[in-house]
């Protein structure tokens, strides 16, 4: 699959483009403008001697169909290639069909209109077919077509935040359903995940839904079978909170019942991800102090409905969520304000604690995997301001985890929190709420997690400078909690196998240093949509980071991951993993 295309929009745009062309050019022709009449040319192919009542409907239908096909071509190959306003993208694209029409199609149409079977073709036909005014009409028609297509074809992924996603989670049985359950208990966790982000953009008006965009709602049975085929023991899985939690006491479980029943029966064992970068429209955004109580209600209902589910991530990547929503202005509340960031962190951490308590009440032996982005900021140079910025960022990265793990912060950070509205009483509440025993710190790592604070004070991605081993060690030293590598992938598909094995060797080295690590994750099972742009703009561009592409054909990294799992899963230390039994026990 090349790109996510909204077929209905593209077809509508193409047909509309053809109609606008016809309307404007027909009026101009009635006013005496001598133009190429594409509708007549097409219509009279079907009705060579027909009246206008015969050739016009045939011609306009054919032109609308051709327009729809061109618009689909635009959607697949051209849309969002240029960072221009959509109408101008459409206008630029229209140069291609215009050139083909002038040089190729027009001479061929003349051939097709001949009343003979064979004609002599010469170069003159290609180059001297159109008079200037007729050529002008052709170009004007294409320009109108391009502007119309470009104006209509936008937002190929996502849907209005106030509207329910229209595709119910139905999925056909895959042809090769093995029904084979991968054993998981007490073993080292080899995991993957279904990418499930659902933030809003455009000031809360537009909902991104990665599960919808990647086709998971239609193909979940196949996805789970592919995960089993690779041999993973666990799958990070986030049922769509925004579609399930419709209001206080209102839940639409059709979005999770069948997929979770399949996972319960056949595996892999799910690590339930309850809140992944977004909220239902009625809860607004992460500035809302009521989200903790509301999400606790959801967690309680969820744990009671699926009492067999054992692994939970109450809130995914709190730091990233708060940063993208309230500091970088990209999702949800879309603010760029330190106080808003602190408020989002506090609300997210509070939600995580309340959700954890709600789940524990229903399932006392639940295991909590608090996935967080492992971050590091390196100062570029011995400049005091740069050094201080890096120090502050390196402290701020810990803030959500400090709050949920009751880890005290430095006096400087405490002052910072006070300055941005976190009172002593509220802070004391966090410090007093001890995390449960079965808690695992999940650390996600990508090539952009290490950043250089450069001379202008901005942070830029460094690539893999120190690596997961060093960064994870910093988190281990701070919290002394069992770890799991909960996300990694590589944007360059050709380099993904190398990256996988290098990440794995980081995990092995940290384990050999005595750090308890329960698992490793390649995230995600399939390619993702628009993540190279932080899913900020609804473009539908595919990031080839999955074990499988969106046709569900394996990438090389799927073979490498299977190789890795097959080589390790029955080895001592992996078949019975002490860190896992200690957490579950």
């Amino acid at each position: 699959m090349l790109r996510i295309v909204a077929y209905h929009k593209a077809i509508l745009a193409g047909a509309a483009g053809a109609l606008v062309w016809e309307a404007v050019l027909r009026i101009l022709m009635l006013l005496g403008f001598h133009s190429f009449d594409v509708v007549r040319e097409l219509g009279t192919l079907a009705f060579p001697n027909g009246s206008a009542a015969e050739w016009w409907p045939a011609g306009i239908a054919a032109h609308a169909a051709v327009g729809a096909i061109w618009a689909l071509f635009y959607a697949y190959f051209f849309w969002a290639r240029l960072d221009w306003p959509p109408p101008l993208q459409g206008l630029a694209f229209a140069a291609l069909p215009a050139a083909l029409a002038a040089l190729l199609v027009y001479p061929q149409l003349r051939l097709m209109h001949l009343h003979q079977d064979i004609a002599k073709l010469d170069w003159h036909m290609f180059l001297a077919g159109l008079e200037q005014t007729r050529l002008g009409g052709l170009l004007l028609g294409h320009a109108l077509f391009g502007l119309t297509v470009g104006s209509i074809y936008t937002h190929p992924v996502g849907y209005p935040a106030t509207r329910q996603c229209s595709t119910p989670p139905t999925s056909k049985e895959p042809r090769n359903h093995s029904g084979k359950r991968v054993p998981a208990d007490g073993r080292f966790i080899f995991a993957t995940g279904i990418e499930c982000s659902y933030p809003t953009t455009e000031q809360g008006r537009w909902r991104r839904d990665e599960m919808a965009a990647t086709g998971h709602y239609r193909r979940w049975r196949e996805d789970f079978e592919l995960a089993r085929e690779v041999g993973v023991t666990h799958i990070r899985y986030g049922p769509p909170l925004h579609l399930i939690f419709l209001g206080p006491g209102q839940f639409d479980w059709q979005w999770s019942d069948e997929p979770l029943a399949e996972l319960e029966r056949f595996g892999p064992e799910p690590i339930i991800d309850l809140c992944h970068f977004g909220l239902p429209a009625w809860l607004e955004n992460f500035q809302n102090p009521d989200i903790a109580a509301a999400l606790a209600e959801y967690a309680d209902a969820f744990a009671k409905r699926y009492p067999w589910a054992r692994f939970y991530t109450p809130v995914n990547e709190m730091y990233v969520c708060a940063r993208m929503s309230a500091l970088d202005g990209r999702w949800n509340e879309q603010l760029r304000d330190e106080s808003a960031f602190v408020r989002a962190v506090v609300n997210l951490a509070s939600a995580s604690i309340h959700m954890t308590n709600a789940i524990l009440a229903a399932r006392p032996d639940a295991v909590f995997i608090n996935s967080e982005s492992s971050e590091f900021y390196q100062p570029c140079c011995p400049d005091d301001d740069i050094q201080q910025t890096a120090e502050f960022e390196n402290e701020r990265r810990f803030l959500p985890l400090d709050l949920i793990y009751s880890h005290d912060v430095s006096p400087r950070m405490r002052d910072h929190l006070r300055k941005h509205g976190v009172g002593d009483e509220q802070f004391a509440w966090f410090m007093a709420s001890k995390p449960p025993k079965r808690t695992v710190l999940g650390l996600d790592y990508y090539e952009w997690n290490e950043r250089l604070v450069s001379g202008d004070g901005r942070a830029r991605a460094l690539g893999e400078l120190f690596g997961w081993y060093v960064i994870a060690s910093q988190y281990w030293e701070r919290y002394r909690r069992t770890l799991m590598h909960t996300e990694t992938n590589r944007a360059d598909a050709a380099d993904a196998s190398r990256w996988l094995w290098r990440q794995w060797h980081n995990v092995q080295l940290l384990r050999s240093a005595g750090v308890p690590i329960i698992g490793f994750t390649w995230y995600s099972l399939t390619d993702q949509i628009d993540w190279n742009r932080g899913i900020e703009k609804p473009l539908g561009i595919i990031d080839p980071v999955g074990l499988f592409d969106l046709n569900r054909d394996p990438r090389e990294v799927a073979l490498s991951y299977k190789h890795l799992i097959d080589a390790h899963r029955d080895r001592p230390g992996y078949r019975e993993c002490k860190a896992v039994t200690e957490v579950i026990g």
Binding site: L2, F77, L111, L114, D117, L121, W501
Partner: protein, 169 residues
Amino acid sequence: MAIFLSAHGYDPGPTQRPLIAGALSGVVATVPAIAILYLFGSLSVEARILRTSELTTVAAGVPLMALAGAVYGYLFGRAANDVRGGWLFGMAFGFALWAAGAVMVLPLASGGPTPAGEAAIGLFLSLVAWGAALGSVHPFVHRPLHENIEAAAKRSEVGPSAAASGPSR
């Protein structure tokens, strides 16, 4: 388009066999194409232009279309497996073949004569239909030809040595 496809890797997928799948799909897709050529009278016109029989024209056309199908599988790689968009990619490929083949190569190969009238319409529609059929059937023809993941995962190049990027010493 080349830049666009590069985002997905030019590899057609480690378990895939795009050339054989493309060739088989190309042959399957000749069925509607030949039917259209026949219905519009284009087949006899082409045979007359090439100074051969209709049967020979078809017999020569089928392996050519198999070759064209293999080229399609090679060029489009992973994208050719897209059930939803395959018909469009195939149709675009068929259009390109029409533009290059029917409009340029056939007249030049035959010294200038080219199908006209209904025969030209039939030739155009047959190649567009061939492309659409090629792109539509390719994912389904390809699927059973895939190498098994279990076996492919045993290859040494996907194993631990993939971690190293430098030469061995």
